[in-house]
């Protein structure tokens, strides 16, 4: 007994000398996939932000409802980390860094507007975090980047579609306009500027004539000067590749000063509220999908979305949902959850069929896909025609 006691004392002494490593109990963590979402929830284009949030939450909910995404027999729950970029590039860059550096997301969905997406794409590329912008159409977003992808067609295609539409559908009907086309765009916004430049180039290259190429900067509300010059240019077709929050104001100001031209627009029109569509009657714009000619996938999505949010999903919601689907497909194909694997999965994706149709990726981050042209009739966006690539 006495010997044992000695031994214990010696052991205690030694323990006192060298101390004991504190053991930290292993915590059982649920397997999760952290996906960052950057959307303009507040700011000028908060509708876009809302649709984004609705779409990602619906998509994530659909996966998590089944216990998560199954990879090699392990279920991963989708965890969304949604950040508001306030439609401010500075803010977008900041939240992107927050998501990448502090939240440790493995991929980012968003930002939506090209003016936010382009700077964030740089950040994502540098940090080697895959990013899918659902709605950005400006080529700069993905240009020269390995980690940045998109679901929307690019502006060159959209510009082409609208240019073609201008020639094929509108010029003939408009004797007065004499192929006179005017453009009013936000020069401070990448999307607007980019699409306007492309449109102008195509028209001019095709022998058309841009009679007025007027610009303004973000936040301006008085377009009278520019519109006056457009009126004076006697343009029969006015292209407004501007965001939905500005377009109704611009058209209404144009109509006020007696402009009777046909207005055409780009996919940024998709978010125009019903109440604001009165002045838009008869206008056309290109976009990503038309809810009234939805395929099965689209119809299911529309139904689910309607059920969840009580409204028909706009193009932003549809594209965001597709971006999410594309991301999940890439993860499933790679059977691995890591930024690098996702990048590899996205890069090797050849085609993806989603709500907004079938997208083909030819080793670029940009899909080759159809656009649709919608017409504003009785305050509704109605499918007019499809424009194939």
């Amino acid at each position: 007994m006495k010997k044992k006691l000695n031994l214990i004392i010696i052991l205690l002494l030694l323990m006192g000398v060298y101390g004991l490593e504190a053991c930290t109990p292993a915590t059982v963590e649920e397997k999760t996939i952290k996906i960052g979402v950057i959307a303009p929830i507040t700011g000028e284009i908060s509708n876009v932000g809302q649709s984004t949030v609705n779409a990602v939450e619906l998509a994530a909910e659909q996966i998590n409802a089944e216990g998560g995404m199954e990879l090699n027999g392990v279920k991963y729950k989708i965890v969304l980390i949604i950040e508001d970029n306030e439609d401010n590039e500075q803010k977008a860059v900041s939240v992107a860094q927050k998501l990448i550096n502090q939240e440790g997301v493995i991929a980012i969905i968003g930002p939506q507007a090209s003016r936010n997406a382009i700077p964030v794409a740089n950040i994502a590329e540098n940090a080697k975090v895959p990013m899918i912008s659902p709605w950005s159409t400006n080529p700069q977003t993905t240009e020269g980047k390995d980690y940045v992808f998109r679901v929307a067609f690019i502006d060159s295609f959209q510009g082409q579609v609208m240019a073609r539409f201008t020639f094929e559908e509108l010029s003939g009907n408009c004797e007065l306009c004499e192929n006179k086309v005017a453009v009013l765009y936000d020069i401070a916004s990448d999307y607007n500027k980019g699409i306007a430049d492309i449109y102008k180039n195509i028209i001019e290259n095709a022998g058309g004539k841009i009679v007025a190429f007027e610009s303004y900067t973000t936040g301006e509300t008085d377009f009278s000067e520019q519109l006056q010059r457009i009126k004076e240019s006697k343009a029969g077709i006015i292209f407004l590749p501007n965001y939905y929050n500005e377009v109704p104001l611009q058209i209404s100001q144009a109509r006020e000063i007696g402009i009777e031209a046909t207005f055409i627009g780009s996919d940024s029109w998709g978010g125009i509220n019903k109440n604001d569509r009165k002045e838009l009657e008869g206008s056309f714009f290109s976009t990503h999908y038309a809810p009234d000619i939805a395929n099965d996938i689209a119809q299911n999505f529309i139904d689910d979305y309607l059920k969840s949010y009580g409204e028909i999903p706009d193009d932003v919601a549809a594209l965001t949902y597709d971006a999410f689907g594309l991301l999940i497909q890439a993860i499933l194909e790679q059977e691995e959850v890591s930024p690098e694997a996702i990048r590899a999965g996205l890069a090797s994706t050849e085609s993806f069929t989603g709500v907004t149709g079938t997208m083909e990726y030819r080793s670029t981050g940009n899909p080759i896909k159809s656009a649709v042209i919608l017409k504003v009739e009785h305050g509704e966006f109605v499918f007019y025609k499809e424009a194939k690539p």
């Binding site: 020069i187 900067t217 936040g219």
Partner: protein, 735 residues
């Protein structure tokens, strides 16, 4: 294995002593440096933290001062009249304005110069009040860009504004921008003058070492975990920002210090704080290796010093152990030898301390043990001797008893007894006294040796009640005189001068004392209680034997007398019988006819036959065998073989003798039967007469019946009965 180690450990005192000393030395040599290290480390940590805190405070104020100075720079610049004139042209006039170009040129030259001389800005640019379009920039490539949503534009239109460290929208790199509104002559805002700060300059301020040693450094981390200093930390290495305990804690808005791994996983002492007005974390770190070098050196020195000290201590311990254990081991060795049987071994007393005392005590114990063992051995020898003596006494007693048991002649017995006892017990002298009839004297009946003979000759006797013998007979108890001189009752005998001890043993049998035995030895104390008990047992046996011999002699005498009496009676009867017998001789002839002859054959020389037992006549054919009843000759058998027959053989003669004996017995029986018959007849007559007498009650009738019946019975013609008057000597006669 463990058992072997344990056995080894437990088996050697030296090993254990050395082991314990080394163990505690080891503990000391490790504990002391360890605690020294811990304590000095704590002190050093405190000192290093203090130094780092000072550095942090210094850097913070330098940072703030630098930013403040840059704000002043911009403010001053925005008030510079030449700049204002040129700016107004650029901001308000169209590019085609003739002044535009010259203004642009002048402004460019002016600001370029300003950048190059101060080196505090990387880019100074002018933004339009509407749309935030860059109309002029020292980096011309950015001209034409719109920064309508940038805070430095939106805020800069209102007042002097410093946009704290933020990621550049182009590169994501930390940037800092100061902006201020440009006012026209009517104090109307016409644009914004903005300048990106030169972060390299900031680096120089922050990274400049402030007496933090070789490994000490201070750096800034923006709110998203990016190093502010691009020069030092390439973004490639930290694509997802940098995360350390210090950085993460600081980014959460706290300040503090601690020991943790830095961005290169090097253990550092760090002080960190969140500079809120700059929205940046400032860290000052110094590698623990450098910080605690002194502590480590100190503990290493202590360790080696104590290690060497313990080596020396071990060396001395070894000798000390030797010194301490030597006397103990000597005792142990001695103990082993003693255990093996060498009781003479003594443990060396090498010291005067407890061990010495132990050795001494051990020796004392050993000696005592040795003494005890010796005493025990002596006692064993003594006891064995006693036992042997006793055994030999017992054997002797048994032998004597056996011998005396087989002797019936008292006289020979007595002589043999004394001789036997003397010889058997190796005694000096043994004498046997018997009490005389009156129990007055004990008379010496036998004595050994010359002394015995002498004493017997002079009819040596002792008075009963006096002397040892006398006392012992009177008291019926044995008595010992271990040294004869001591016993007052002993009779000094000049014939036995060598006697040194003496014992007197009463000879007791059937409740009386026949006499006593005296046993004497030349040795002192030759007799003890147990020997005397043994001898007494023997004496009792002797007494019984003597008694038996006496009884035997008595019964022999009685038997002889009885025989004599019976023989005489028988002889008388035979004489009467033969006188009454008409026929005395029977002859059988060759034909087998028996003929009774009344004449007596005188030719038979019976007397001769009786004398010889049998008589064989000269012709060897005639033999005469007497018929004897005891010593009395009843008659004889004469057998003569025919002439020419073989002479008598011994065998034949024996047969005849046997027949003669049988005949004698048969004749005696027949005579006894005859005698008995006659006696019975007499008894019958007597009882008949008695019965008849009994029937009468008158005296006369009785007498008459008696004589009458007597006469009938005895066939006597005359029976007379007389009653005598004794007074006149006459009897009353009846007939």
């Amino acid at each position: 294995m463990i058992n072997r180690i344990r056995n080894f450990w437990q088996s050697s005192l030296k090993t254990r002593l050395m082991g314990y000393v080394l163990l505690f030395t080891l503990i000391t040599t490790t504990t002391v440096p360890f605690y020294t290290y811990i304590l000095s480390r704590q002190a050093l940590e405190k000192a290093v933290v203090n130094r780092l805190e000072t550095a942090v405070q210094l850097k913070e104020s330098e940072l703030n001062r630098w930013v403040k100075n840059r704000e002043n720079d911009i403010t001053l610049l925005a008030q510079e009249p030449t700049l204002l004139i040129m700016s107004e042209v650029l901001l308000t006039s169209a590019e085609i304005d003739p002044f535009y170009s010259t203004s642009y040129q002048s402004l460019s030259a002016y600001l370029q110069n300003s950048i190059e001389t101060s080196n505090n800005f990387t880019e100074i640019f002018l933004l339009t009040n509407v749309g935030g379009k860059i109309v002029f920039s020292t980096s011309h490539e950015t001209e034409g860009e719109y920064h309508v949503t940038a805070p430095y534009f939106t805020e800069g239109r209102l007042d002097l504004y410093t946009q704290n460290i933020y990621p550049s929208t182009k590169t994501g790199n930390p940037t800092m921008t100061i902006s201020t509104p440009i006012l026209d002559r009517h104090d109307k805002v016409i644009g914004v003058l903005a300048a990106h700060l030169n972060m390299i300059k900031l680096d120089e301020i922050i990274l400049e070492q402030a007496g933090l040693g070789d490994s000490g450094e201070t750096y800034l981390v923006d709110q998203y975990g990016n190093f502010v200093s691009e020069a030092k930390f390439g973004k490639e290495d930290f694509p997802r920002g940098v995360h350390t305990t210090g950085i993460d804690t600081a980014l959460s808005g706290k300040e503090g210090n601690g020991l943790y791994l830095n961005y290169e996983n090097i253990p550092v002492v760090g002080v960190y704080e969140w500079i809120d007005n700059r929205e940046v974390a400032l860290l000052a770190e110094s590698s623990q290796e450098e910080a605690f070098a002194d502590a480590r050196n100190l503990s290493t020195t202590i360790f080696w010093t104590s290690f060497i000290a313990s080596l020396i201590a071990s060396f001395f311990t070894y000798f000390l152990t030797q010194k301490i254990t030597k006397p103990i081991l000597a005792i142990a060795d001695t103990a082993k030898e003693i255990a093996a049987g060498n009781l003479e071994k003594r443990a060396p007393v090498l010291t005067k301390d407890e061990v010495g005392t132990l050795a001494q005590s051990f020796n004392e114990v050993t000696e005592r043990t040795r003494n005890i063992i010796n005493t025990l051995e002596e006692r064993v020898i003594e006891r064995t001797h006693i036992l042997k003596t006793r055994t030999s006494y017992l054997e002797g007693a048994a032998e004597v008893s056996r011998a005396v048991g087989s002797m019936l002649n008292q006289d020979t017995l007595i002589i043999q007894i004394v001789e036997l006892i003397k010889k058997r017990f190796n005694l000096y002298y043994v004498g046997l006294f018997l009490a005389n009839e009156k129990d007055e004297w004990a008379i010496l009946k036998a004595g050994t040796g010359e002394a015995g003979q002498k004493m017997l000759k002079r009819n040596h006797k002792l008075k009963i009640g006096e002397g040892m013998i006398g006392w012992c007979i009177e008291n019926e108890k044995a008595r010992i005189a271990l040294d004869v001189g001591d016993d007052a009752t002993r009779f000094e005998n000049p014939d036995l001068p060598k006697t040194r001890s003496e014992g007197a043993l009463p000879l007791r049998s059937r409740g009386r004392v026949l006499g006593a035995l005296t046993v004497q030895s030349t040795e002192e104390s030759a007799f003890n209680k147990s020997i005397i008990t043994t001898l007494q047992t023997m004496a009792d046996q002797i007494a019984i034997a003597l008694d038996n011999a006496e009884l035997f002699a008595q019964s022999e005498t009685a038997l002889l007398a009885e025989r004599k009496a019976y023989g005489q009676l028988s002889q008388k009867s035979w004489q009467e019988f033969t006188q009454n017998q008409a026929i005395s001789r029977f002859i059988v002839n060759e034909n087998g006819k028996v003929k009774a002859v009344k004449t007596v054959d005188t030719s038979v020389n019976l007397a001769q036959a009786i004398e010889k037992g049998k008589l064989l006549e000269n012709d060897n054919l005639t033999v005469i065998i007497p018929i004897k009843n005891r010593d009395y000759i009843l008659g004889g058998i004469k057998i003569r073989k025919n002439k020419g027959a073989k002479p008598w053989t011994e065998e034949e003669l024996e047969i005849i003798e046997a027949i003669s004996e049988q005949l004698s017995v048969t004749l005696e029986s027949a005579r006894l039967f005859d005698q008995t018959q006659r006696k019975a007849q007499r008894e019958a007559v007597t009882s008949k007469i008695t019965a008849k007498i009994g029937a009468s009650i008158r005296m006369d009738a009785i007498l008459q019946t008696t004589v009458k019946e007597l006469g009938k019975a005895l066939a006597s013609p005359k029976v007379s009965f007389e009653l005598l008057d004794l007074s006149d000597n006459t009897a009353q006669k009846s007939s």
